[in-house]
Amino acid sequence: MLNFLVTFIPRAIMQGIPLLYGSTGEILTEKSGNLNLGIPGIMYMGAISSVIGAFYYETFTPKDSMNPLLAVLIPLVCCLIGSLLIGLLYCFLTVSLRANQNVTGLAITTFGVGFANFFGGSLIKLSNAEVPAIVLGGTSGYIKTTLPFANKMGWFGQLFLSYGFLAYLAIIIALVASYVLKRTRTGLHLRAVGESPATADAAGINVVKYKYVATCTGSMIAGLGGLYYVLDYSNGIWSHNAFGDRGWLAIALVIFTIWRPSVSILASILFGGLYILYLYIPTGTEMAIKEIYKMFPYVITLLVLIIVSLRKKREDQPPMSLGLPYFREER
């Protein structure tokens, strides 16, 4: 049993990290009153942007002369730029032009997934690979680097130290986001914008600026989840629809954690575990049972929604103006 846990939990954590990035990003976004359903697309954008960066770096640099720092920085910067641009697009449409947030978000998801698969396909063509996939082993090797003594520490090392730096970064970002939201003036102002933009506006807070900054920062954080998945978890292998439907799971996680990034750290591991649980059921079980296992994360999200709604605690409700555009003229 202990053996099972020591192998299962690290897998769950690695599955959970992209979800943690996605949900932290979405929480920041939603706290500003923007319901960004484009998160799945944005995570695809982050993934493909980093893949493009890594692909060209690996193509133009012989494997043995690769600079570790550049190998990490290039995909990282590409990922941030890619997800920032699409976050800006979302903001421009919903904040400046006041388009419907649901429609815009869904459009961005469709666009992001399509964009990633299109350019992913192009890169696969360029690389003349025999299988329909790109393998960025070099870059991935650097990104996955763990502490040198991790292997020597037995189960402790395997549980806590066997991950690349991006996994720890996700937890740090979630903790920082949690602190900013709860304890700083910026967080207070951001929450006010999401709760009641008219009140924030009257108090002299620049509503548009807060919405833009929170949503774009959120997009960039979510994009990192895509990068982590492809270049760390999948060992740098990109194929069609590589990222799956994890973006939706990240959004479900936002509701599950009732808008708390710190709770998301453990909840994402739970979700990650549930997401791959079907791999661990005895072989020979019917395929249909597997599909039921895959439903678990969504089922418990629904349960949380029901419980939270029944408790009617105001702090547990979504930000009050979530999904609504803000017009200053409508006083």
């Binding site: 003036r185 207070l188 929450r191 009641s196 924030a200 002299g204 807070i205």
Partner: protein, 513 residues
């Protein structure tokens, strides 16, 4: 006596909204350390004037001086910087935040956010002026009065020495009002200057040192409170009667059509909005309903049309076709319609409750008639005919009957709405603020339409705000004050003064009964 210093001086302030002049060349002074009442009827421009002090509007003409220095106030922040704080009628608070969080919201003080320190300062301010406030309490747990306290402390926390309170007592119980007045006097003692906007005369006399009166956007004058009484203030507030020459034939064969008996309603907060309202509306007459804003006019009309829950009382309808009577209290609009009561309601919120903005005239006509036809398909012919008739007869300016009503001007929207309701051939026609925001010509069109309905034998109920119109258009006036019937008067023989007194005090002085 030392010379008075001015905390605020407004000189020649004019503000227009489109063609409407909300404030015309107003000169107003607020002396240091005094409480000034700004008195005027609804729509007289009080709030507009104060919004220019607090930076929400910018004056078209004129100059504002703060402590005798000319200033430009272009935003709420400028107002704060000049020590001006306004407490609006609608509170601007974040519900899930604590009092402290709301108070420090938007402030960029040095260093880390320190809620404990801020809470201490809030406690200090509260003790100084006699507020009762818990800095840790969440706003959604607060009563209206506590929310108001948070708003006032918010302004004081920012160091304001000129406070403007926009109808602060409208939402308070008498006990809470007394507490507020005590706090206001404490602030005055501390050297702050206050303006209180109100239309309640007894409060003016109780709390203020001086009264300034506005009427229809004009500055009428100011008096020291000690030299004023209810009568003199009412005279200044309502002014002399103006003749409007609205055609008013005598009612023909009036019969009771709608009898309201002992109607009482409560709003969702449990506050009594209508208290034991009893009156009768007769066929062939226009019954005007007068009262300062928020005296229960909206609740009354909505209760009659089945949109507002009724706690007590009955509404008896006399059906002119069958000569039957029935109680319609407690029925919803559909049940009322089904039981053969033909009633039309022109709500004040035209595009919210009255019409669907993105549909054309035809579509909006259909809203009233689609239920009459059986089958799954809509009959467009009949509504189109009505729409065309309304378009021609009421001279609605629109490119076609399918043009979205949202994009029409206010007057045309109102014509569509009134036209639709009249086309139903109602036995009772209720209108709320039917001419609000309309120009003179359109207003007269509406008056004539209502008079024509009255001559057809319809019982018309007209809720209005302009006393001159009410006195010339209606046959009888029902005056509401604080959700109670303050009096019923004959519009032909009464005068503005009497109605004004009834509006501000239940029963007034010269009660007819």
């Amino acid at each position: 006596m030392e010379a008075v210093k001015n905390a605020v001086r407004m000189e020649g302030i004019t503000k227009r909204f489109g063609n409407v002049v909300a404030n015309n060349a107003i000169n107003l002074e607020l002396h240091e350390g005094e409480i000034l009442s700004l008195l005027g009827e609804n729509g007289s421009g009080k709030t507009t004037l104060m919004n220019m002090l607090s930076g929400i509007y910018y004056p078209d003409e004129g100059q504002i001086y703060i402590h005798d220095k000319p200033v430009t106030i272009a935003s709420p922040k400028d107002a704060f910087d000049n020590g001006i704080g306004m407490i609006h009628q609608h509170f601007k608070l974040v519900d899930v935040f604590t009092a402290t969080e709301n108070i420090i919201l938007g402030l960029n003080e040095e260093g880390k956010m320190n809620l404990k320190e801020a809470g201490k300062r809030i406690k200090e301010i509260s003790q100084k002026y006699g507020f009762d406030i818990d800095p840790e309490q969440k706003v959604y747990n607060m009563s209206v009065s506590q929310k108001q306290t948070v708003e006032i402390v918010k302004v004081l926390y920012r160091g304001a020495d000129i406070l403007i309170l926009d109808e602060p007592t409208a939402v308070l119980t008498p006990q809470e009002t007394d507490k507020l007045f005590a706090v206001m006097r404490n602030m005055q003692k501390d050297g702050k200057s206050l303006i209180i906007i109100t239309h309640k005369l007894h409060e003016v006399l109780e709390v203020s040192d001086r009264v300034a009166i506005l009427r229809k956007g004009e500055y009428i004058g100011d008096v020291l409170t000690k030299n004023a009484d209810q009568q003199s203030l009412t005279d200044m507030m309502v002014g002399r009667a103006v003749s409007l020459n609205i055609d008013r034939p005598m009612p023909v064969d009036p019969q009771p059509r709608l009898e309201v008996k002992g109607l009482t309603v409560y709003d969702e907060l449990g506050v009594k909005r209508l208290n034991d309202i009893t009156f009768t509306a007769y066929s062939g007459e226009i019954l005007g309903i007068a009262g300062v804003a928020g005296s229960g006019q909206r609740e009354l009309l909505e209760a009659i049309s089945g949109l507002y829950p009724i706690a007590e009382g009955s509404i008896i309808y006399h059906n002119p076709k069958t000569n039957q009577t029935g109680d319609m209290a407690g029925k919803d609009p559909l049940e009322i319609q089904k039981s053969g009561i033909s009633m039309a309601f022109v709500p004040e919120d035209r595009l919210g409750m009255g019409l669907v903005g993105s549909m054309g005239m035809t579509g909006n006509m259909m809203l009233r008639s689609w239920r009459k036809k059986k089958g799954i398909f809509l009959d467009k012919k009949e509504p189109e005919r009505v729409a065309n008739a309304v378009w021609k007869e009421l001279e609605v300016v629109t490119p076609s009957v399918d043009f979205p009503v949202r994009r029409m001007s206010g007057g045309n929207v109102q014509k569509v709405l009134v036209g639709r309701e009249i086309a139903q051939d109602p036995a009772v026609l209720m209108t709320a603020y039917a001419v609000r925001g309309l120009d003179i010509n359109t207003s007269y069109t509406i008056y004539n339409l209502l008079t024509a309905e009255k001559m057809k034998g319809v019982a018309v109920i007209y809720v209005g705000e302009d006393l001159d119109v009410l006195l010339e258009l209606c046959d009888r006036l029902l005056v509401l004050c604080g959700g109670q019937v303050s009096g019923v008067v004959d519009a032909r023989t009464t005068d503005k003064r009497q109605v004004g007194v009834l509006m501000t005090r239940v029963g007034g002085k010269n009660n007819e009964k």
